[in-house]
Symmetry: C2
Subunit: 678 residues, 2 copies
């Protein structure tokens, strides 16, 4: 990874007087001349009426400035006339992030002073993140360039789902994720707390939930309070999900009276859709849920509770004669109708406890209360449909982080597609979206590297105007954002590096370079190639590779610049581009050879032996293509056919990792013919 980072820093990101690397991009930005120098004499001042939340945030901002600059700064907040950052918030009453809270801010930076204004603390928090992102290294100083920014989010719901159900994520993992979310102005943590594989939250009323359903891995109520408070301090709402009536095996272990079948139940050790389900026909089920929800509302102040509702097979219902009789009696032909019945009662329970309901696509049934928010995972057309039916909704499917979507794929997925033909009122029903880090194939050492930096592209899609959509500029800023997140303590860089050191017993450079040309296979494909379960150790090569590595775009650019320069016959630019690309292919060759030596005595490296051989061939393909292009010799048909066959065979899935460099290599091969034709 260190190698990639070094490569990244060189060719693309030249130093400018104002290098706009903000992410997400603000709604409106204009630059002026001058800068605010970050120096020891800097003073951050708060308005005199400031509240503790804002003061804590200002402390954190100064602490981050200090770490970024190694300068010791003042932590006093009165305005003493010195060079300053003035923070002014109009309304100090709103102390809890909630749907619809005003998140806008303006930021004015002139020589010697910056002024951040916001209606609420939550706008000010976003403004502080922007300010921190504006700090640039200058030859002698650190400086914030003079700008005028007026900013507000496009969507009010900008979420990230964490799934400790499949693999537990310790509190420290959740906290650093909240730091990262705040840095990209996301505002909803969707916490998927219950699953067939684990019940991850302590209930004092029903302690057998966590005692029998979690293998000892659950959040205590103290920890939940800590997370909720930490999130609120960063302007982030926490929406808990208690999945029902399906995905509910771990409820039923300690409380089999909730179940549709007699049991006994045990913590699921495999992934996939299970048949276990709550019995929706019994009053006692709802009494239990009523009491449980009441207990949870003491922990989660947010207005929303997510009840899941997805992937309920209905099989256990149809296998229970009493439930079948109930369905007949109520003229229900399908289990989805029974689920709608269940949802309606659960919704009344939520309303009783002053909570609004969120659920996955499956809850969208006729007669669903328009108060319910539908989380879309079946495809955006369902979201658009729901909006037409008057339902509020949030988009998730294109943002599934266990899939091999690139940052630019996710960036291009707009929650309001331009083709939708919704009325403005209907468009307003689309609240935003959520990136979803499902937990089947990640654990706490790898989750960060699947979430970040990709999710920053989702954050920008949900915050910035729809018109901001240039993927290349996004990738440029994503690389900077990745480094900022690294500095915040996110482990998306450090943990894969650690993993590669562990696998190679300290000799990781070749493996790190390999990781720059591959990504994990998509979630579904991995389930086929390897029967993963929650017990599978997540320490193989695939686990430390990442989707859409930043190196992918860097390589694509290298090839594009090389090919372009070879066409326009710009001698000096071409020589530089040629040298860089040759160096890349030579480093691939050397690393592939090195890896094959290491693999002879390394079981985990041996598991990617075929990919190593292909990589070596791809390096040769690259060098040969370049030689042909340079010499303007015509390649033989046989050569072209063999290279195309190589690329095709490299595109076949195997050994759990996919190459991410094949398209530019295909361009190179294609260019050999064109070059000779010139």
């Amino acid at each position: 990874m260190a190698l990639m980072a070094a490569v990244l820093a060189l060719p693309i990101f030249a130093q400018h007087s104002f290098d706009n690397s903000l992410m997400p991009q603000p709604a409106n930005l204009s630059t002026e001349t001058g800068a605010l120098i970050i120096a020891r004499r800097l003073r951050v001042s708060l308005d005199s009426a400031h509240d503790p939340l804002l003061e804590r945030a200002a402390h954190r901002m100064i602490f981050r400035l200090e770490r970024q600059t190694s300068l010791q700064l003042d932590h006093a907040f009165d305005d003493d006339g010195r060079p300053s950052i003035r923070i002014r918030v109009a309304d100090h009453e709103i102390q809890r992030p909630a749907e619809g809270v005003d998140e806008s801010y303006t930021l004015d930076v002139h020589d010697g002073a910056a002024t951040l204004r916001a209606s609420t603390d939550f706008g000010a928090l976003h403004g502080m993140e922007t300010l921190l992102q504006l700090v640039q290294q200058e030859p002698q100083d650190y400086a914030v360039p003079a700008v005028h920014i007026e900013d507000a989010p496009r969507f009010p719901w900008r979420g990230l789902l964490l799934d400790p159900g499949r693999h537990f994520l310790p509190v420290s993992n959740v906290l650093r994720t909240l730091d990262a979310m705040a840095a990209v102005k996301m505002n909803v943590l969707h916490w998927h707390l219950t699953e067939d594989q684990g019940f991850r939250i302590e209930s004092k009323r029903f302690p057998k939930l966590q005692e029998l359903g979690s293998d000892g891995q659950y959040y205590t109520q103290d920890e939940v309070r800590q997370v909720v408070a930490y999130a609120a301090d960063r302007g982030i709402r926490v929406v808990p999900e208690f999945d029902m009536p399906g995905h509910s095996t771990t409820w039923l272990i300690g409380y089999p009276e909730l179940a549709s079948k007699p049991g006994p139940y045990h913590v699921e050790r495999t992934n996939g859709i299970k048949d276990a389900a709550m019995d929706p026909t019994r009053e006692s089920t709802y009494r239990f849920l009523d009491s449980f929800i009441e207990e949870m509302t003491c922990l989660f102040p947010d207005e929303y509770i997510h009840i899941g509702g997805d992937e309920s097979s209905g099989k256990d219902w149809l296998g229970n004669p009493q439930i079948v009789r109930f369905m007949q009696k109520h003229n229900m032909n399908k289990t989805s109708e029974l689920q709608a019945y269940f949802n309606a009662i659960v919704q009344r329970v939520l309303v009783k406890h002053h909570r609004r309901m969120v659920g996955w696509d499956e809850i969208l049934q006729p007669d669903l209360s328009s108060d319910v928010v539908v989380q879309n995972w079946h495809g955006i057309e369902f979201l658009v449909d729901a909006a037409r039916q008057g339902h509020r909704g949030i988009l998730s499917k294109p943002f599934y982080l266990d899939h091999n979507y690139s940052a630019s794929d996710m960036y291009a997925a707009d929650p309001i597609p331009s083709t939708d033909k919704l009325t403005p009122a209907q468009e307003k029903l689309i609240l935003g979206g959520e990136a979803c880090m499902w937990g089947e194939q990640v654990d706490s050492s790898t989750a960060d590297s699947r979430i970040w930096p990709r999710t920053a592209s989702v954050a920008e899609r949900l915050w910035s105007p729809a018109s901001i959509r240039d993927p290349q500029d996004m990738y440029r800023r994503l690389a900077v954002m990745s480094r900022r997140l690294d500095g915040l303590g996110v482990t998306h860089v450090s943990n894969p590096e650690r993993g590669f050191r562990q696998i190679t017993e300290g000799n990781a450079s070749a493996l790190e370079l390999f990781a720059s040309v591959v990504q994990p296979v998509d979630m579904g494909q991995r389930s086929k190639e390897q029967h993963t379960s929650p017990l599978t150790p997540m320490t193989n090569v695939v686990d430390f590779t990442v989707f859409d590595p930043l190196s992918r775009e860097v390589f694509a650019q290298q090839v594009a610049v090389y090919l372009q320069s070879s066409r326009v016959l710009d001698g000096r630019q071409h020589a530089a581009a040629r040298a860089l690309l040759e160096q890349t292919f030579n480093s691939w060759s050397a690393a592939a050879s090195q890896l094959s030596v290491q693999s002879a005595t390394n079981r985990r490296l041996a598991s990617i032996a075929a990919r190593q051989n292909q990589w070596l061939e791809l390096a040769t393909l690259g060098l040969q293509s370049m030689a042909l292009i340079e010499s303007r010799q015509s390649p033989s048909d046989a050569w072209i056919i063999s290279q195309q066959a190589l690329i095709k065979s490299c595109a076949q899935s195997q050994e759990l990792v996919d190459f991410v460099v094949l398209a530019p290599l295909g361009d190179l091969v294609k260019a050999t013919s064109r070059a000779s034709a010139n």
Copy 2:
């Protein structure tokens, strides 16, 4: 760091059938032929009477085996006759680590089975760490070689001091330190909880201690219980230190009635010896301490409490007429006598609460109860003296981790020097030692990299027989141990790497190589060159360099091998050694040039500009010396003088970092004359 690791792995550690990389080395080890293969079918079995502590430990061992091998293993503990690791503990009653508990174990590995026997769980814990260290990568498998080990510690007190007083260390930091300590068989966490700069533990009886004395950075009692339980699970005792009567500013902020002067007091923002002290003449002081100690004994079950007692200036006592009168009345001529009076009463308080006292050297005054343990920091001669006087003691001074002691320095420091002439009974009074990570110049992102891997050499000194003392073999194993600790989640590698990425905005390779040739200046020197305080941001280049980097020994070996091979005229070995060393010097040159380019626009890199220039000159010195040696040309006197002057000037302290490569470079220069004389 990645570069260094790669270099480390190549030349020194060839693969053998049994590569003894155990650290600490066991008391007795014999090898046999064969191995236990770690495979899916492996079964860990516990004796039927096993207790929860042992079961948790076995789970952790299996989990680590799984992560190390990526194999999914069974977590059931019955013996089903399959290839197995059998763990048998004689006495399941002892569930808390305490001084004197039997920590011995035997481990027998044959083909197909390993048997670990111990008297107590705590011996078994050590045996499991040994077993994990024995796992080797084989071409097709992971295997534990057949061995017979009989092992027990040489000293019963093998400690590490953490000082959250100066820079707070979050619980997660403490927990990963406990994991690391257990991995090297250390058994005492000395937790320095109170300081002039921070009172870091919650008292419910005297809440103003933490409320006014900690800037909000303290361990809650829940967290303390978590740490103590986590430690106990790993066989580690927690000895809390409440420093008194000096180093006590933060007690006096909320409770000025304890003080020798009227106050007011505030949290100290600078380091050094302060005059604030408790008033030893008032009964109320002891009533307060009695109550406080009583509260603390509920949190800390260990038999020992450390009362500090160091660096009490006595000035505030002499400035208080009432205290001066008290001294006169009791015929005390020196403040040390008043401190002895204080200590005697505090000791009675401890005894009342069934606790024994530990204190620093200064508490050793005439009439000190022989029950008290003296922690030595003034020099080993005082420890030996104390033993002659019948006091038990522990050695610390040579193990101060904020000093620039190398791992081999610390390794050579024996708590029982061979020259001491103590009787066997007196030798027994020396309980062991403690590595001390004082917190003035480290924070939670850098503490790990100052503690590890160096402290593993202290751990071995305290565990293994005195006869095991070859520094080169120690360094060979230390490099392996460093990787193991990295795998456990210790951040001694990852956090400096992150720091270098942050400083260089992602282009860290040159800076990483620079970090391989330097170390921070010694603690005292840094205090002179830079007026550090607890508020100084610890994110400068110096903060991410480490004492005695492993690369130092690697470079020394490279030069030694090169010079040796040039003397013995072994052509092939010499060519290889020459190529390697030339490559090293060329990489220095390239990196030094790269750094100077980067420094032009980077304030923090510019702060090491002089060192970069010197580094470039040292690379040239190396290459020129080699050219002379190879050509057997006689160097001019002027050249020799200038090179010696260069080395001398490089040895001068500046820019907060010292070179660690000067001695071998001096050898090279010296060898130029010898070569030409041949």
